[in-house]
Symmetry: C2
């Protein structure tokens, strides 16, 4: 397949380092809160890239980290009066719930920064040894001026970057562009032992350490949002290449998704248009959100508006209805003596699959690919409408087509259920609670309510019975 | 044609605002020195984009500015003990000499910042009136926080940009991201009157003011090197849109060329691999440099190495030799009774032209297009080799094919002559000087030498006669 590589700013034929295998690192969330709707875009689109590479026959090792120690984590934990570890555990669990609802598969490995302090220290030591970092009063800084290709990914010149940056009085770095690999301990912050004294990792180093541990020093694909190109990915590349010292690129294909705009504006807390994925899933079905994200090319800016989401929800409904109709008809309308032309039908399916494959191979053009999926919907719908009876093979072919498309795109997926509990468990507990309440066993009924609440399920007692929904923060 | 638009990070079908016309702004040089080899890349590739748009039938208005007032200009003029205006005049003349040698056509309009102070003041006034700039002790700053879409072109979030920036004690701006539109007068610097006191324009505002004057508030194409995306083009977009207040994008298609690397490293003064185009033209024929720039796609990084330049020089030589052979043969080998199959030849030429057109329409893929031009070279060479005599139409078709390709690509162009004088003028002056010297009229011979020197031509007296070459700084 062809992928747009931000290193060369061109579509390139994808060729992995090791035949048949793909090493793929994707930047994961900082687990200080629910992830926002803008972040759900890379999670969804690169989930599809991973699925497509697997379909093409590659063994994909997909690593996505959890950043569980940084300034934001420390600040939020202090605000909530809990430890950084407790905060991380809470939002890692929430990540998995939201991800599952959005049809995003768990990574092959999901390493946490705090569980890789040794690897981080090891990486920093290599960078120092190779002459590209220096120790300054317990901090360690990457020496940007020592790295001639700094700026190759973000396409900036050192001189221009330098123009806006300054070293503040009291700062410990030599040059304003230098960035921290290790930060000396400050009071009230978590810390670890290191050769440079007690402290904690800087912002960027964990990705270098963990991708190297799980994927090797030179990897095939690194993905993330376009706003991560600078400084995060530029710094990662400099760190990893300075540590490996093998003169090979850290990453062969840098792949970045475009911005998600909200009502045509960039999402930002100051604009007041900041939304978590969790909150968005209260308003729109999770599968509509996934469908919406895939309905544009991953590199284009995409505009999150009520109209666009309603359109996406309609798309999901049309797809589901078609599959339901197909299943229903397969129980009553099978007739192998039908005069339906199965050969033409099969040919049309094959043509659509070929178009879909071309679109996916063309830099993951899911927008076009979804068009082909709806070609199948149209074909199946009109076949069902125009023919009272259809041969068994029609049903086999149609179902296997939908299985193929839905496997790749992750549609329609396990809609609605955001909890780690499955719907049966929840319903059984609700029935038990209703019975306990009837028996005036309020201890047990409260226990069940609290247990469900701890799993992110809120109960609502109505005249028609007890309903459950997902809790919003 | 399709163009890769950095605003959407996708190839898009080019559709101009006004049918049949293209408004095209390209960032020109700061005229404090010869332009460097990296800068020759945008000048060459966007010259070809302009030629191609004209071939497609558009009336193209191509504006490229000269930055003739900024910190670098002031510093260099002080170092050389001349005025900023004298410095600018010198290097504007040098720009035209280098550009001519490299086959780069002069812009439709080449405005200078210092001749547009009124337009600059007017643009700044509009931005202030629309609430997006403020006056601070004689400086005027753009208020970045008031512009919600700041970062849409460079794909960065305000929060990330903010993280690395600080207001220094003593600075007059409210926010570290704010940038100067107007700078209050400092002693020893050129200055102009303004509603905010005496001063001079900031770094970015001239492009907004001049593109609006010559092309209108909303333009079709804006081009430049990829390193200009941030901050220059991001700031230009914010300024122009804040000034127009018409809720339309300043630019519909933002087009940026990739880095030029030297021996696989980014060119920088600190790396010691900094080269002017003038110096490069002393080592390699100018047309080899142009050919080299067009032999890669404009968005890809390109690696300037002696090997690549030799290969490019070979390419130019093969093309020239083929055209020379063709011209020579057209004088002696025409025979309309030749059994050469002119219909097949014409068909092959037509097919190559169609491929060339497709490549050029595909985001200006000059790399592929040059391949098609060499298809013609191969075809003409083998026809000349295999046939003692060829019909008149063969020569007509071949010549008109080369005229077409060379017009579009600007190859082989007016090679070697970097001066505003043409070769005949130079040769005549050299003959006159030689005669003056023979007549012991040293006053006249020195006068001629000095005149040529002022035009950038250095003379060298050798036993074989007087040679001339272009002066190197």
């Amino acid at each position: 397949m062809e992928l747009f590589n931000d290193l060369t700013r061109r579509k390139e034929l994808f060729t992995p380092i090791k035949e048949g295998e793909v090493t793929f690192y994707s930047c994961g969330p900082t687990v200080y809160d629910f992830f926002h709707i803008g972040n759900s875009r890379p999670f969804i689109v690169f989930d599809v890239l991973r699925r497509w590479l697997e379909y093409l026959g590659y063994k994909v090792t997909f690593v996505q980290n959890f950043t569980d120690i940084d300034d934001k984590m420390i600040k939020r934990a202090n605000e909530e009066g809990i430890t950084v570890k407790e905060l991380a555990e809470k939002f890692i669990a929430e990540y998995y719930r939201d991800a599952k609802a959005l049809g995003i598969r768990p990574p092959t490995v999901a390493p946490k920064a705090t569980e890789h302090i040794n690897e981080i220290i090891d990486t920093i030591s290599k960078i120092i040894k190779n002459g590209h970092a220096y120790v300054s009063e317990g901090d360690v800084y990457f020496d940007v001026k020592s790295w001639p290709n700094y700026g190759s990914l973000c396409k900036q010149n050192l001189d221009d970057l330098e123009a806006g940056a300054r070293v503040e009085p009291g700062e410990k770095k030599k040059d304003p562009l230098d960035f921290a690999l290790w930060k000396a301990k400050k009071s009230g912050e978590p810390f670890w032992q290191s050769p440079w004294g007690e402290g904690r990792p800087g912002w960027h180093i964990e990705c270098s350490a963990m991708s190297s541990k799980y994927l090797g020093e030179n990897i095939d694909i690194h993905s993330g949002g376009v706003d991560l190109i600078f400084p995060h990915h530029e710094n990662e590349a400099a760190q990893s290449e300075a540590a490996s010292g093998n003169n090979k690129p850290f990453v062969n294909y840098w792949v970045h998704n475009g911005f998600l705009l909200i009502d045509n504006k960039k999402m930002s807390k100051s604009e007041g248009n900041f939304t978590t994925a969790r909150a968005a899933m209260q308003k729109y079905p999770p599968m509509a959100i996934r469908f919406f994200m895939l309905s544009a090319h991953y590199r284009s800016p995409i505009n999150f508006t009520p109209e666009a989401l309603e359109q996406a929800a309609n798309g999901v409904a049309r797809l589901k209805n078609c599959i339901d109709d197909l299943n229903f008809a397969s129980k009553s309308r099978v007739d192998n003596n039908s005069d339906f032309d199965i050969q033409i039908f099969e040919k049309e399916l094959t043509d659509l699959k070929a178009k879909f494959t071309d679109a996916m191979n063309d830099d993951l053009n899911t927008a076009a690919a979804i068009g082909d999926l709806f070609g199948v919907v149209h074909l199946v719908n009109s076949s069902l409408k125009d023919n009272a009876a259809l041969p068994e093979k029609f049903f086999e072919l149609s179902k296997s087509a939908f299985d193929f498309y839905n496997d790749i795109l992750g549609l329609p997926g396990q809609d609605e259920n955001l909890s780690e509990l499955d719907e049966n468990e929840i319903e059984n507990l609700i029935t038990e609670r209703t019975n306990a309440r009837k028996a005036k066993n309020f201890k047990r009924s409260d226990e069940i309510r609290d247990f469900l609440k701890s799993k992110g399920i809120t109960l609502e007692d109505t005249p028609q019975g007890t309903k459950w929904k997902l809790s919003v923060n």
